[in-house]
Symmetry: C2
Subunit: 213 residues, 2 copies
């Protein structure tokens, strides 16, 4: 069951959100400000936090970075009544995963929540201590080059990859492609074209953002 923490000082809205989320097969909890939210987060694990940006006591903009730092895997959706572009940009820069302007339609909320959670599934690729295959794959320069290549060109056939990598022995390439496939970083479509798997895409974008940021 996916656990969501609703943080808002308005009791009506809070109860309303809890009810709606409950109706939609989530497991909702509530907190009335940032401080209470952090305490709740310390006690239980959550998947997502709906965070109001302006609250008496500890506000959302202040709470956001703390949550992200302590629980980097938790997705955060900011909500705000006083919507400004600057505020939205700051929130996104601060680590929010989405941003909703009050009043919003329930449906918009659910869409945002589901989108965030969908993205969160890729967490699987993380867990540094668990994804051995992935790191083993990345340890080889030919395989890293292959990932980069497929990132740029999106779809290639076996021999195209071999040629682009300027490797004369195609069986060597075959070996690395198989390794990449086994690690689920690469996949083949019906016509045998190689392409990055969702996991592969995720990794490449992580790595290039690592290279660039």
């Amino acid at each position: 069951m996916i656990k969501i923490l609703v943080v808002d000082d308005d009791p009506d809205l809070r109860e309303n959100l809890v009810e709606v989320l409950g109706d939609n097969d989530f497991s909702p909890f509530a907190a009335e400000n940032g401080k209470a939210a952090l305490e709740t987060l310390a006690r239980e694990t959550f998947d997502l936090v709906l965070l109001d940006s302006v609250m008496p006591g500890m506000g959302g903009m202040e709470t956001l970075p703390q949550i992200k730092r302590q629980y980097p895997k938790i997705k955060i959706i900011m909500m705000t009544a006083f919507s400004t572009v600057h505020g939205a940009v700051e929130a996104m820069r601060g680590g929010a995963d989405d941003y909703l302007t009050k009043p919003f339609k329930i449906n918009d909320l659910l869409v945002a929540v589901r989108r965030c959670l969908e993205e969160a599934k890729f967490v699987a690729c993380g867990d540094l201590l668990n994804s051995d295959d992935m790191f083993k794959c990345l340890a080889n320069i030919t395989r890293r080059k292959t990932l980069m290549l497929l990132h740029k060109e999106s779809k290639l056939r076996f021999m195209d990859i071999t040629r682009k990598l300027e490797i004369d022995d195609h069986t060597k390439v075959n070996f690395h492609l198989k390794t990449l496939k086994d690690a689920d970083l690469l996949e083949q479509d019906g016509r045998k074209y190689y392409q990055l798997s969702p996991k592969g895409k995720k990794i490449v974008s992580c790595l290039s953002s690592m290279a660039s940021s």
Copy 2:
């Protein structure tokens, strides 16, 4: 010299921005829409793109993901006259590094530009195709655990690491520590305490953000 590409359909603003950027020791180029921008990017390498979101022909919101996909290292600042929260959020989700609402003060622009470029400096840890040592290091779970450990505890002595990793053979740990030191992910201070090197810190933070987003 840092190269910046200004993409805007308004000739006055374009010229103005080019002049200002030139006065501030940047090397500015201009393009009048997304298509022209992509052509320019294909010819020369840039560090940053200032991208107007609404332009005749190919707009910025359309160009943004293409630039990010083809040149993931290039920083992008979106500019828009019709500023909406939704637009800003979309831009940031789409890969923009910052977002400015027209009209903006020149100073705000320069601040945003410098901030983006500052973030870009971490490049060092990247270059996927070059840092073989680093990836080889990360391929081993003991070494990843060691990095995580030192990330949490910041400074530890040899035998502390050995114990915390629950490895009974200290020579094994010795081997991995040496490997990490050789790859410049780890360093020792005067009292032989092990700690993450700057490069090591960068990598750990990259990896945990990867695990969390």
